[in-house]
């Protein structure tokens, strides 16, 4: 397994901004840092499955933090990923009620960006309820909203992939999907408040 040493942090940060660049960037992060992050979990009461699950979340959070300007290059990507892993793992241990194990984890340097990371982790925890609701939507709705909000495709491009009669029909369908999703969120009133307060802490 080789690592492309010419791939700079700067290039990596530019790539994660767009869905089309994510694969290359995340593959590089896996090849360069997976072993280090895995070692941390294994040395702190986790097993290799824990490491696999957690490192996926680390990668997702890292990409999102970069996109939202929460990673400002104050540390190397490696250090930032390491801190993210440690804090996510502590949160996970805490959820499992393993307080004793959490207390076994100590840190060498509490970095200045820890607070940003912890606020982001709290937001991600709150957001899980909304992503779970999104999974309840029909497949067609999920596809339309994903192509529009994540892939950033135009209605014309989405039309090719979804085979609706015309753009207006597709547009109406998108609004219906969005309305269905907002109704789902409103039916779970605590979800909204929970996510909103987590988002406010993040600002």
């Amino acid at each position: 397994m080789t690592v492309n040493s010419d791939y700079t942090d700067q290039q990596l940060l530019a790539d994660v901004q767009h869905p089309r660049g994510v694969n290359q960037a995340v593959t590089y992060l896996y090849k360069s840092h997976y072993r280090l992050l895995e070692r941390y979990i294994l040395n702190n009461s986790g097993n290799s499955t824990d490491a696999q699950d957690l490192i996926q979340e680390v990668m997702v959070s890292f990409v999102e933090m970069v996109r939202e300007g929460k990673y400002r290059g104050e540390a190397s990507v490696k250090s930032f990923l390491y801190t993210l892993t440690r804090n996510l793992w502590i949160t996970e241990l805490r959820k499992r009620g393993a307080e004793a194990k959490r207390n076994e984890i100590y840190e060498t340097n509490r970095e200045q960006w820890d607070d940003d990371i912890n606020a982001f982790i709290s937001y991600k925890e709150a957001q899980k309820t909304i992503t779970a609701l999104f999974e309840k939507l029909g497949e067609k709705c999920r596809k339309i909203l994903t192509l529009f909000y994540y892939e950033d495709l135009s209605m014309k491009e989405i039309l090719v992939q979804t085979h609706y009669e015309n753009e207006q029909v597709l547009r109406n369908r998108k609004y219906k999907c969005l309305k269905e999703m907002t109704d789902l969120v409103h039916r779970n009133s605590t979800t909204f408040e929970h996510v909103k307060s987590a988002l406010e802490r993040l600002k």
């Binding site: 397994m1 869905p19 994510v22 694969n23 995340v26 593959t27 896996y30 997976y34 072993r35 280090l36 070692r39 941390y40 040395n43 702190n44 490192i55 996926q56 990668m59 997702v60 999102e64 490696k78 440690r86 502590i90 949160t91 805490r94 959490r102 207390n103 076994e104 984890i105 100590y106 840190e107 060498t108 340097n109 509490r110 607070d115 912890n118 606020a119 982790i121 709290s122 991600k124 957001q127 909304i130 992503t131 609701l133 999104f134 999974e135 999920r142 909203l145 994903t146 909000y149 994540y150 998108k174 609004y175 309305k179 999703m181 907002t182 969120v185 909204f192 909103k196 988002l199 802490r201």
Partner: protein
């Protein structure tokens, strides 16, 4: 449905300037509309996260398929010609001679000013306990004492415990190290290793490596410290790998002489 449509058009910047102005005016006066807007924003982010997670999962699965957990990363050896071209060789020799002269001078100065105390100060990293400010995790009395730098009290409190857990032994060693009581710190690092071996766990393994090496520097047992630092330096996955440089190894070799 119309509200959802308007919000979506607003967020996607599909409104005209007048429409936008009117919409923002209504937003300021209508709490329900504001809540709807916040909800759509949350949904948009959730959609993005879900899609991103699926994308990362694909990369993860492709990576794990070929991942060999036990294999140590190897640096590719670069093969260089034994004899460079003749003209370049002479230029190279003269440049090398100048570099050697500078290195001898700098090295001589460094050797004269080298001492274990400076090395210890350079390499010592304050060790802090994790805090979860965003969550209400209650800090233990011991954590508080350590966090506030009351190392003498940490030592007293841990020593009074009948059964010491690995984390107690580690904290005890670190408290001694912070007080520059190197012999006692080394005893506790040794006790930690024994406790880990008995339980079949590796708590603070990497941390103990690094700080034990520092305690050995404090004790002027440079050769033993060098062994540990070399182990850390040679292991790219070691937690403290980035904290040990060739220069540190060189200093320890000089001090060992």
């Amino acid at each position: 449905m119309e509200t959802t449509q308007n919000i979506d058009r607003y967020l996607n910047q599909e409104m005209s300037a007048t429409e936008r102005e009117n919409f923002e005016l209504e937003l300021n006066q209508n709490a329900v509309l504001q809540r709807e807007l916040d909800t759509v924003r949350m949904i948009k982010k959730a959609v993005q996260t879900t899609a991103l997670r699926a994308q990362v999962k694909q990369v993860h699965e492709a990576f794990i398929k070929d991942y060999e957990p036990e294999k140590v990363l190897e640096q590719e050896a670069k093969i260089r010609p034994l004899y460079p071209q003749r003209g370049r060789m002479y230029r190279g020799i003269s440049v090398a001679a100048a570099v050697v002269a500078i290195l001898v001078f700098v090295g001589g100065y460094q050797y004269a000013s080298l001492n274990g105390e400076t090395l210890y100060q350079d390499k010592f990293l304050p060790y802090k306990l994790p805090t979860m400010r965003s969550q209400n995790v209650k800090e233990s009395a011991l954590d508080s004492l350590y966090a506030t730098g009351n190392f003498a009290a940490v030592i007293t409190q841990i020593q009074s415990k009948k059964i010491k857990q690995p984390q107690d032994l580690f904290l005890l060693a670190m408290a001694h190290l912070n007080q520059k009581q190197f012999t006692q710190a080394l005893v506790q690092f040794e006790a930690l290793k024994t406790a880990n071996a008995q339980r079949g766990v590796k708590y603070f393994e990497a941390e103990a490596d690094y700080y034990e090496a520092l305690a050995l520097v404090g004790e002027k047992r440079y050769e033993e410290a060098l062994d540990i630092f070399e182990k850390i330096y040679d292991d790219p996955t070691h937690l403290f790998h980035a904290n040990v440089s060739q220069w540190d190894l060189w200093q320890l070799r000089m001090l060992s002489w």
